[in-house]
């Protein structure tokens, strides 16, 4: 029976192309998302600075919530320096280096800062071949500098230089210039750990040749029963850069957020392509019924054949998925959301998972499409194969209506939860509603065409009359085309407007938050020097100044009624923040942000205590002293600086906001300090503000839209190509090719008309709810050209995808076309 199916395949080239494209794209997208997710779980940063450390001991750099994926901690979790001594005695250990890193910069003679990372002298032993010119630093006011930095700052061994080290400016004597792959300032080990409060980032251990494993085991024993991490081999990469490793842990969540919409679209396109392909075979399947195949055999045949056709495209697509994932990684790196060094994990799992998933979809879709034909009594099967069933199934219609209703219920979520997570449901609701349309579409099309038929004037032209009759007679086929086009409208509108509306809402929030005329940063010194705040506050013309920094906290949020710990961005503020920021405080007072206190967005009881993890993993309890309204732009939580201090990697303020009536003068006075960079306004939009998912969503939109439009065009072409026999028949009866082209254009107009109207209606409800929730207005924010553009694209695709195969079908003489078809 499969052979028969393959023999008929020749006649359905367009349908097979549609199926192959749907499969290829689907497998590529699912595999790509899988690779991204897996990389988030398993990929490792390359080992660079620690290449010569055989065993590395560090504090845990991720938080493991119960029954969930571990969350990477972006702020360095340090260890007490005393541990180094304990490990020195372990057998086969040749060196134990307690390594620290802190922000540092040397100032040139003109005071221009040259950025370099600060370390202890022993860290030079981690470099491959440290060429040292001079003596190691031993006194607190001595340092060594790498050759590149020395050249940039114009210093030599023996010079005296000013440096900003961990936020403190002081004068040092340069004792040595060393060669090092990256810019570094090296201090006496005892001096270095003072900058990090006598805690080290990690302990690097060198072992006797070939003894690495033994040393690792011995170190674990020596450390005893605590949660410190002992790493060897590739595991050391993550220890080097916890920020980068933490950035990676947002990949699974990102993949998860893409997966929902993507899977829905893929299911839709794959099922659509298969249903066209199987509709073209209905007659063959019916004949098989007539010669004794059971309904189950028919469905099995349809599914088996679909699987066979799909397999090559799926395998190729899965391969392309790895390339897609790499392109995507490149884009994330370009946007600054992923460290450039992070490689993708390439394993067969994502491909295998994608293949299994899509094969399931194929089986289900093929069996579903063949359902009606397979269930008919054998005798009716043959006659029914010539036309569609007269009445669309009631169950199907009700199921469709129910799905549309359910979709609109989901669409209410952004109204109650004004977060980017809540906003995600808008596109899902739109897509679900369109799938519902696919189910109740035939009934609707039949109704619309009956109304049209009744309204047609008696002397209407034959093409128009035939077009209406066809719409009515082939409601199922027409509904398929309508649903597909409506999907393009709904998906583009809901998905795009969700992003633009969310961006606007966030921008408005951020815009309304910043009250400052000027802001000051110090990127060269890794954060603002500790004396900067005093200096700025006392600068003439400054009315108020307050530090504003961002960190990440693990905050217990409620997701669909369940408490879940989520990594979320948080502001670090002092009581002075009330003067420079307008957080739309609803209750309490930002002036109370001292000690272990927080302010939170939305509803919370003042004075209640919340427990959460700071960015380095430390669990703290803090009192809620204020609630505010700008959660969308600012984040869920604001942490007092007193609480966060010592739990960030740099330990420095990132930005100081300034209120002043005379920005010009203030700017001029601050210009004398070359370390400080002064900017207009609050400059909050970068840093806080738009979350990475939004940018990514826009790229995903592009990819999915391309896939969707290709799928739509393919499906329309295939279903038009299958009308060759029908068109030839009309020509035999006396229709001219021109009349038939007109008829097809009228049908295309009816299809477009219904698709645009239903698409707009289905998209409207979720978008209005979203806009009300986020912007407090019924209309969304977004480009005005979007709607006309979408409608234009849909119309162009529909007409082109119907017109071209129609020309093709009308080319051979009708006698031939009829013979070679049906």
């Amino acid at each position: 029976m499969l052979r028969l199916a393959l023999q008929t395949a020749r006649r359905r080239v367009a349908a097979l192309v549609a199926v192959a494209c749907a499969m290829f794209g689907g497998a590529a997208l699912v595999t790509g998302i899988g690779v991204i997710a897996e990389s988030g779980l398993r990929s490792q940063m390359p080992v660079e600075r620690l290449a010569r450390a055989d065993v590395v001991v560090s504090a845990p750099q991720s938080h493991q919530p119960p029954e969930d994926l571990p969350i990477g901690l972006p702020e360095r979790n340090r260890l007490p320096v005393e541990l180094t001594e304990r490990l020195a005695g372990v057998p086969d250990v040749t060196a134990v280096i307690g390594d620290v890193s802190f922000p540092a910069a040397v100032l040139s003679a003109q005071g221009t800062p040259v950025t370099a990372s600060g370390h202890g002298w022993s860290a030079t032993r981690l470099a491959d071949e440290p060429g040292v010119t001079g003596q190691p630093p031993t006194r607190p006011d001595e340092l060594a500098v790498d050759a590149g930095t020395a050249a940039a700052a114009g210093v030599q061994a023996g010079d005296r230089v000013n440096a900003v080290v961990a936020g403190r400016t002081a004068q040092f004597r340069v004792t040595a210039v060393v060669t090092s792959p990256e810019p570094g300032l090296y201090f006496a080990d005892d001096t270095a750990i003072q900058f990090t409060e006598r805690r080290v980032d990690f302990i690097a251990i060198q072992a006797a040749p070939g003894r690495t494993d033994n040393v690792a085991t011995a170190v674990r024993e020596a450390l005893g029963d605590n949660d410190l991490v002992v790493s060897t081999g590739a595991d050391r990469g993550d220890v080097e850069s916890p920020g980068a490793a933490a950035a990676r842990s947002f990949l699974p969540a990102l993949a998860g957020s893409m997966a929902g919409v993507t899977l829905l679209i893929i299911g839709f396109i794959v099922a659509g392509a298969l249903s066209v392909s199987i509709a073209g075979q209905r007659r063959d399947l019916a004949l098989l019924r007539a010669v004794g195949a059971s309904p189950k055999q028919i469905r099995g045949l349809a599914a088996g054949q679909a699987t066979l056709m799909a397999a090559p495209a799926l395998v190729l697509g899965a391969g392309a998925g790895y390339l897609l994932a790499d392109l995507f990684r490149g884009m994330l790196v370009g946007l600054g959301f992923l460290p450039a060094g992070l490689p993708l994990t390439v394993s067969p799992f994502p491909a295998v998972a994608a293949l299994l998933l899509l094969l399931l979809v194929v089986q289900a879709a093929a069996r579903g499409s063949a359902w009606r034909t397979s269930r008919l009594p054998a005798t009716e099967a043959v006659s029914e194969s010539r036309v569609e069933p007269r009445t669309p199934s009631k169950t199907r219609t009700y199921a469709g209506v129910l799905l549309i209703v359910a979709a609109n219920v989901i669409a209410v979520i952004p109204l109650v939860s004004q977060t980017s997570l809540g906003a995600n449901t808008t596109a899902i609701a739109g897509i679900l509603a369109t799938v519902g349309l696919g189910l109740c579409g035939p009934a609707m099309v039949r109704w619309v065409s009956s109304v049209l038929a009744a309204k047609l004037p008696a002397r209407v032209s034959a093409p128009t009359w035939l077009a209406v009759a066809n719409t009515n007679g082939y409601a199922m086929r027409v509904a398929g085309a309508v649903t597909t086009l409506a999907m393009a409208v709904v998906f583009t509108l809901t998905y795009t407007l969700t992003q633009t509306t969310l961006i606007t809402a966030i921008d408005r929030d951020v815009e309304a938050t910043g009250k400052a005329e000027l802001h000051v940063t110090a990127p060269a010194t890794g954060g603002l020097p500790q004396d900067a705040l005093d200096a700025i506050t006392t600068t003439p013309g400054v009315k108020a100044a307050a530090p504003v920094s961002t960190t990440t906290v693990l905050w217990p949020g409620s997701v669909f009624g369940q408490i879940q710990v989520e990594s979320s961005s948080a502001l670090i503020l002092t009581p002075a923040a009330a003067n420079v920021l307008d957080l739309d405080v609803r209750s309490g007072d930002l002036n109370d942000l001292t000690g272990a206190t927080v302010a939170v967005s939305g509803d919370a009881d003042l004075g209640s205590e919340v427990g959460f993890h700071l960015g380095d993993g430390t669990f703290v309890k803090a009192k809620v002293v204020a609630t505010y309204g700008r959660g969308l732009g600012i984040g869920e939580v604001v942490v007092s600086r007193d609480l966060a201090i010592g739990h960030t990697t740099s330990g420095l303020d990132q930005r100081i906001l300034i209120r002043t009536d005379d920005p010009g003068t203030v700017r001029a006075s601050l210009a004398s300090n070359p370390v400080l960079v002064v900017g207009e306004g609050s400059g909050l939009a970068t840093g806080t503000g738009i979350p990475p998912e939004l940018w990514i969503n826009i790229v995903v939109l592009g990819v999915l839209l391309g896939y969707l439009l290709l799928g739509i065009a393919n499906k329309l072409v295939a279903s038009t190509a299958q009308r060759r026999a029908e068109l030839a028949n009309l020509r035999l009866i006396g229709a001219t090719a021109r009349q038939l082209r007109r008829m097809m254009r009228r049908e295309a107009s009816v299809i477009c008309g219904i698709a645009l109207v239903t698409g707009l209606v289905l998209a409207a409800v979720p978008i209005v709810l979203l806009s009300l929730g986020l912007l407090g207005q019924p209309w969304p924010a977004g480009p005005v050209w979007l709607l006309p553009l979408v409608m234009g694209v849909v119309v162009v695709i529909a007409f082109a995808a119907i017109e071209l195969p129609t020309w093709q079908a009308l080319r051979p003489p009708p006698v031939d076309a009829r013979n070679h078809q049906s």
Binding site: V387, G473, E726, L732, I733, G734, A735, T736, A737
Partner: protein
């Protein structure tokens, strides 16, 4: 044998001198090189009932297609109602065909999405003419489908569908009606009924008919029987009995 067309030959068409269909040296070579018609010449006078017989593959359908303007010959000329058609564009040819030619196919070729009434009047609609409801009802009554007019083709039996197709072929009052094995898809009894109906209509309306059939009994009613083999008309018989025809066909098939 009786000549049922006698009454018709004295009908109104008699005064028009042109033949209904004329083929002059018509050849048809299909892509791939099959010479399905090889220099066939033929004149069908108005009011004539012509039967075409011959073994399968002998070119009967090709002859019908070329003579009706459904297809164009590779060489030679075809005149329908006095108009030479091979020089016409596809559109003009279709229009001429719509006006002057009715065609009954073996496979009925009704439009599944249209009711029987709409199927019957479709050629008029396509010609932009008003659907002549009275004529349609007359024809429908004549073919016995009055109570089936609002049904769809799928709800009718094969014989009923073919009768609807005959009514459709006659709706435009064509100069000539072609029928290519109109009973080929029907059982013997139903097929006979359809043939009887066709013959009665022809008698009543004075219709020119060219029909391909394998049934010697049906062919025996024709004014003229053409026997085809290998793209040639190998014999032209008038007034042959069914037995003679059956014998003649058997010998052609044996060659």
């Amino acid at each position: 044998m009786t000549r049922p067309h006698h009454a018709l030959r004295t009908g109104p068409f008699e005064t028009v001198p042109t033949a209904a269909v004329t083929l002059a040296e018509v050849s048809k070579i299909y892509p791939g090189g099959v010479r399905a018609l090889d220099g066939v010449s033929l004149t069908v006078d108005r009011g004539r009932f012509v039967a075409v017989m011959g073994p399968s593959g002998s070119g009967k359908s090709t002859l019908m297609h070329c003579a009706s303007g459904l297809d164009t010959p590779t060489s030679g000329k075809v005149f329908i109602d006095g108009t030479e058609i091979s020089s016409l564009t596809e559109n003009r040819r279709t229009e001429l065909r719509r006006r002057n030619v009715g065609f009954v196919f073996q496979s009925y070729n009704l439009v599944p999405s249209l009711t029987i009434a709409d199927n019957i009047t479709l050629p008029l609609r396509l010609a932009g003419a008003a659907a002549d409801q009275e004529w349609m009802r007359t024809l429908a009554g004549r073919v016995g489908l009055t109570d089936r007019l609002s049904h769809r083709p799928a709800e009718l039996s094969g014989g009923q569908q073919q009768r609807a197709a005959i009514a459709r072929a006659l709706i435009a009052r064509p100069a000539v009606l072609f029928a290519d094995e109109p009973t080929g898809a029907l059982d013997l009894r139903t097929g006979r009924n359809v043939l009887d109906l066709l013959r009665e209509l022809v008698n009543e309306l004075g219709q020119t008919v060219v029909m391909v059939t394998h049934d010697p009994a049906a062919a025996a009613h024709a004014d003229l029987v053409l026997i085809m083999a290998d793209g040639h008309i190998v014999d032209t018989l008038t007034g042959a009995s069914p037995t003679t025809l059956a014998h003649r066909i058997a010998t052609v098939e044996a060659e």
